[in-house]
């Protein structure tokens, strides 16, 4: 057997050009028996590497090429799990001890501390010994080798002979071999593989350029001289090392001495310390029943049975400690008044409900616990909790304090090459200018990975863009190859792991964003290590609820408020959590929701699956009595009644399989999984056969059983987790209630928590205005730090100003509390503000009340800044002196103010919105003269009316459709409101290049009225002519454009 013991993957971050599938395929076809993963200072790829290799029958060995002090490389291979733990500790020490800005460097002392059960290879030319030999420092090389022998032991340290056809290689290998003989240690043959095949070299070279910020035409020592760092076949290696047969044989020896990959314990969750030494299961039971009594008032037999069933499964699987830990987190949040909401399949659990982890009553909703946890599946529970943004940090801090900093870490993420980033990074290396690449990359729709050439074929806005794509063919080829490769390690937004043992036994740790300690494994791989992930996410909607709770009592929101449902039924739900997209608004305007159940279904309906599966229309028709609700079997009525006979939820699939065919809960969930993840036809047929057989045994006719299976198969792939939908629907209802009853406060809260939701701040302002709320301008004497609301108005906050710092806005409000500002001079003297922020305040209109002419105000500002400096430098003056008295009177110049158009542009630039103007007002005279309708007009027109309308293009998108054809949905915004528009495939091919690249468009189309909603079916798309905009005249003000 020959083994490659020095192999890099893309997890060497821009120093590996073949993914694990390619490496495994190449190894399999070449007859390589084992591969060792040796990425630079990381084990991030280990789990995927192991999976890919084992799938091909190749032995995986886990290791890393570590960097020592002085920049020297050394390859370390884990013999077993104990060696792996040492490798984790070493890497963690290297990362966590490295000073900010410095490169990773391990000390020899660290190596000595954690050297057990590791093989060490002397490394590439950057290894200490090879580099000393290349400098003819033979004595020092020998001393270095002796040091490594002392650290690792004579039988564990090998001198690495590399076969990369580099200058002086034969000589280097000869000396290394002689040194090995003298010291009685082994040699080992490697080729320092950085890619699978020779043909991968150009991509590796480009990635190296991207890593070193160089171009192909530049010289850089990191660039490889040749294309010899590929996974050579055993035959090629035997030719290269014919003079070193022992070095070849030692590869097999080392590989045999290493265990095949990683074997972790199933569960490393810390034991929960219950009070008085009570056992975790007992304490959990006590808490659950206490919660049940609070939640239900009386614990009925049905509730008790359900709770016992869940507790039995939780305890059998050994997750009592985990549930207690999550309970503890929720308890802390509640005690601190932090808004949170459990979501996901955890809401299928009545135990989670009784522990106040979720707010979904799984028993009342008839939710299946097996969707969340089952004995047969035995998988780890996955509880996701959303927190308001600020509160989340407090919760995380609490967890760190409780479990210890060595046992808690944030899960990492990997930033991977998408089309845009690959074009930018590789294009730069190829010598294209950054401006050209920026223009090119921006034209591509965001895609996490993919082939640019295929995207050009697929998207008309690219095809018709006029970009000379042939110029970029080579770039596209390499961008497609790099697609999906990790670029750098990042910090997961919410994933936290807690361990019973120090985490450095299991994963290397390093610093991530904002100094957070992160694991080197991401959320997909971390569970393989035996760790359970907590998802503590930040949900801005909860921050919005917290903000509005200053005015409204959230605890007193009635369950079925008719006014709230009337609002939802109108489809005017811009800003409502989960119900604001055009598709949701359209659904709501036709569905006639009148209870929470309808909102739960709505959340599940507007998803790719149900839309593609044509579930939306039957659902609406059946809900409104326009289509008969029928059940294939009487037993299905109980299960499908709440969704009018439509299989909408994954829980329903499980229940059908249980009730009709007597599947065990675990079997039924297996069926749900196979269906949801569109597994093989074979698996599906096997399950279908089992379903029919079992159903027959329970007295169901074979034909009927087959029909039912076909029925659930047709829908189940599109199903959504009901518990998750229910958790979201509860929050959706609350936000709709607040929008209905506290619109100004609610919109102000949305504006204060941007970015969030589907629409930008300006669209929210248009919607607020349409509801009769006045958007008040920025005012240095009236604006608070954030947006503030009264019953019918919202005042723009100081923090909205571009470049504004929290301490400055705070200082402004504080200074104003003493007395209002009387002039710019007064302001500049009393607030320590930079020139840029002061200018932005002027351009944003903050001084309009004091200086109505903004152009003159800017003039005054510069004078004030000058005199302010002078005054502050004089010891007899300082803050507190009423400068307004001493300031010179403003110079009265015959200087006209900025035009409304200029003011609009400036406000947009510094505030992102305008209280006074809307873009379309500047086009309205032209639009009126040319018979363009407004969004307000259209809402009064009959279905089928042909109209022209113009507006700002908001969020054009192409969701999946039932027919599989591309349909574009977009929202057009004018000063009166929004109108949703639909563009079918033929028109998209014709006008896609305009729809996705222009901010302002004219549309011609036919009015469609469905339910209470109005939309436009687009026939033609055009740009407005240049002359359409009037810079001096505009129509009214945004403030007066109420609906």
């Amino acid at each position: 057997m020959f083994a490659h013991l020095h192999v890099h993957s893309p997890f060497s971050f821009l120093d590996g050009a073949a993914d694990f599938t390619e490496l495994a395929a190449r190894a399999a076809e070449s007859g390589i028996g084992a591969l060792a993963l040796t990425d630079h200072n990381t084990l991030s790829g280990a789990v995927r590497f192991q999976k890919a290799l084992l799938a091909k029958g190749i032995k995986p060995i886990i290791g890393a090429e570590v960097t020592l002090e002085g920049g020297y490389h050394l390859v370390l291979l884990a013999k077993d799990m104990s060696g792996y733990a040492n490798l984790c500790r070493l890497l963690s020490e290297g990362w966590l001890e490295t000073k900010e800005g410095a490169n990773f460097a391990l000390s020899v002392e660290s190596l000595a501390t954690y050297s057990q059960n590791l093989f060490a290879l002397s490394g590439c030319r950057k290894g200490l010994i090879p580099s000393l030999i290349l400098q003819n420092k033979f004595q020092e090389a020998r001393q270095a080798a002796e040091q490594y022998i002392n650290i690792f032991g004579r039988e564990n340290f090998f001198l690495e002979l590399q076969g990369n056809l580099l200058p002086r290689e034969a000589r280097l290998n000869k000396y290394l071999s002689q040194l090995a003989s003298v010291l009685k240690i082994g040699t080992v043959a490697t080729c320092n593989a950085h890619y699978a095949r020779k043909s991968d070299f150009p991509l590796h070279d480009l990635l190296t350029c991207a890593r070193t910020l160089t171009k192909l035409t530049d010289l850089h020592p990191e660039r490889r001289l040749n294309a010899e760092n590929y996974l050579k076949t055993p035959w090629e290696m035997s030719r290269l090392f014919k003079e070193h047969p022992k070095a070849l044989a030692n590869t097999a020896k080392i590989a045999e001495a290493c265990s095949a990959g990683l074997q972790f314990p199933a569960n490393i969750f810390p034991a929960f310390e219950a009070p008085g030494g009570e056992s975790a299961p007992s304490f959990l039971r006590r808490l659950v029943y206490t919660g049940a009594r609070e939640r239900y008032g009386q614990v009925t037999e049905e509730i008790r049975e359900r709770l016992e069933k869940e507790l039995t499964i939780i305890n059998k699987l050994g997750f009592a400690d985990y549930f207690l830990a999550v309970w503890d987190v929720a308890r802390f949040a509640r005690a601190k008044g932090i808004h949170y909401a459990g979501r996901g399949s955890a809401a299928d659990s009545a135990v989670a409900y009784c522990l106040y982890i979720t707010n979904v009553d799984a028993i009342a909703r008839g939710l299946l616990f097996e969707r969340f946890l089952s004995l047969e599946r035995g998988e780890k529970p996955d509880i996701d909790i959303d927190f308001e943004a600020e509160g989340r940090e407090k919760v995380i801090d609490y967890i760190y304090r409780k479990y210890g900093r060595d046992r808690v870490a944030t899960v990492c993420t990997f930033n991977t090459f998408g089309i845009r980033s690959a074009i930018r990074d590789l294009g730069k290396a190829m010598g294209f200018s950054p401006e050209e690449l920026d223009r090119l990359a921006k034209r591509f729709p965001w895609m996490s990975s993919g082939d640019p050439a295929e995207a050009i074929e697929r998207f008309p806005e690219l095809k018709k863009s006029g970009i000379p794509f042939e110029r970029y063919q080579e770039l596209f080829k390499y961008a497609a190859k790099a697609s999906g490769f990790p670029r750098f390690i990042g910090t997961h937004l919410g994933g936290l792991v807690i361990s019973a043992v120090p985490l450095t036994n299991l994963t290397p740790l390093q610093y991530g964003h904002k100094g957070k300690v992160i694991t080197q494994f991401d959320k997909d791989d971390i569970e393989t290590l035996g760790l359970i992930k907590f998802d503590l996410l930040s949900l801005k909607t909860l921050s919005v609820l917290r903000d509005v709770s200053q005015t409204a009592d959230l605890g007193r929101i009635p369950a079925d408020d008719p006014d709230t449902y009337r609002l939802i039924n109108s489809g005017e739900t811009v800003g409502v959590f989960q119900l604001e997209s055009p598709a949701q608004r359209s659904l709501q305007s036709r569905l006639g929701a009148d209870k929470l159940e309808d909102l739960v279904a709505s959340v599940a309906l507007i998803r790719p699956g149900p839309i593609e599966g044509n579930m939306v229309e039957p659902y609406i028709a059946r809900k409104n009595g326009l289509e008969e609700v029928f059940y294939l079997h009487p037993a299905l009525e109980k299960i499908l009644k709440k969704t009018y006979g439509v299989v909408l939820f994954q829980e329903q699939v499980i229940e059908i399989a249980t009730v009709i065919a007597g599947f065990t809960p675990g079997e039924a969930d297996q069926l749900r999984r196979v269906m949801t993840h569109a597994r093989s036809r074979e698996d599906m047929q096997k399950l279908g056969k089992l379903f029919v057989e079992k159903a027959r045994r329970r007295g169901v006719e074979e034909e009927e059983a087959q029909t039912i299976f076909g029925y659930i198969m047709g829908y189940a792939g599109y199903g959504f987790c009901e518990a998750h939908a229910a958790a979201f629907a509860g929050t959706a209802y609350k936000t709709a209630y607040l929008l209905k009853h506290y619109p100004a406060q609610y919109y102000a809260a949305l504006l204060n928590n941007q970015p969030m939701g589907f629409y930008p701040p300006e669209t929210l302002c248009v919607e607020a205005r349409r509801r009769g709320i006045t958007i008040l301008p920025l005012d240095i004497n009236a604006s608070q730090e954030r947006f503030t609301a009264t019953n019918r108005s919202i005042r723009i906050g100081l923090n909205q100003v571009k470049g504004m710092e929290a301490k400055i806005s705070r200082a402004i409000v504080k200074a104003r509390r003493e007395r209002p500002f009387t002039s710019l001079h007064d302001f500049i003297f009393r607030v320590p503000v930079s020139k840029d922020i002061a200018e932005n305040l002027v351009l944003g209109g903050a001084f309009d009340e004091l200086h109505p002419n903004r152009k003159l105000a800017l003039w005054e500002l510069h004078k004030a800044l000058k005199s302010g400096k002078k005054l502050k430098s004089r010891p007899e003056t300082g803050p507190g002196l009423n400068l307004a008295i001493t300031a010179p009177p403003p110079v009265q110049k015959d200087c006209p103010d900025f035009s409304p158009w200029e003011k609009f542009r400036q406000e947009h630039s510094v505030l992102g919105l305008s209280a006074q103007y809307h873009l379309l007002q500047f086009f309205r005279p032209y639009l009126r003269d040319n018979a363009y309708a407004t969004s307000r007009d259209i809402k009064g027109l009959a279905s089928g009316t042909r109209v022209r309308i113009a507006g700002k293009v908001i969020r054009p998108h192409r969701p999946p459709t039932k027919s599989g054809k591309t349909v574009v949905f977009l929202t057009l915004e004018d000063e009166f409101g929004l109108i949703d528009a639909t563009v079918f495939e033929d028109k998209y091919h014709r006008y896609g290049h305009l729809i996705f690249t222009r901010g302002l468009l004219g549309l011609t189309g036919v009015v469609q009225r469905r339910g209470r909603g109005t939309s436009l079916l687009v026939e033609e798309v055009h740009e407005l002519p240049r002359r359409a905009r009037s810079s001096s005249t505009f129509c009214g003000s945004a403030a007066s454009s109420k609906g």
């Binding site: 056809l165 580099l166 200058p167 002086r168 290689e169 034969a170 000589r171 070299f201 150009p202 070279d205 192909l216 035409t217 490889r224 001289l225 040749n226 294309a227 010899e228 190829m430 080579e474």
Partner: protein
């Protein structure tokens, strides 16, 4: 000191390595007595440059040359002449 060159030469190999070097249409032939080093280079692959095997050789007349073998088209050229 060395001098750059780009002259095509004829090379015969023995056991896979250069043995003689000839130029001027074969009128001048040198026997290679020692190969000091050998390596492979990829060159400017992005502009179509091909992979080459480079040999640092010493001839019987005690002269040193850097010989390049273009592997794709099997041609040899003298890249550098050392004094």
């Amino acid at each position: 000191m060395s001098k750059k060159s780009n002259r095509l030469v004829q090379v015969t190999c023995r056991a896979g390595v250069p043995a003689t070097l000839a130029w001027k249409g074969g009128r001048q032939v040198e026997r290679i007595t020692e190969i000091l080093d050998s390596w492979r280079e990829i060159g400017a692959w992005w502009s179509g440059e091909e992979e080459r095997q480079v040999y640092l050789v010493v001839t019987a007349s005690q002269k040193s040359y850097e010989l390049c073998h273009n592997l794709a088209i099997d041609t040899w050229y003298l890249a550098r002449i050392f004094d």
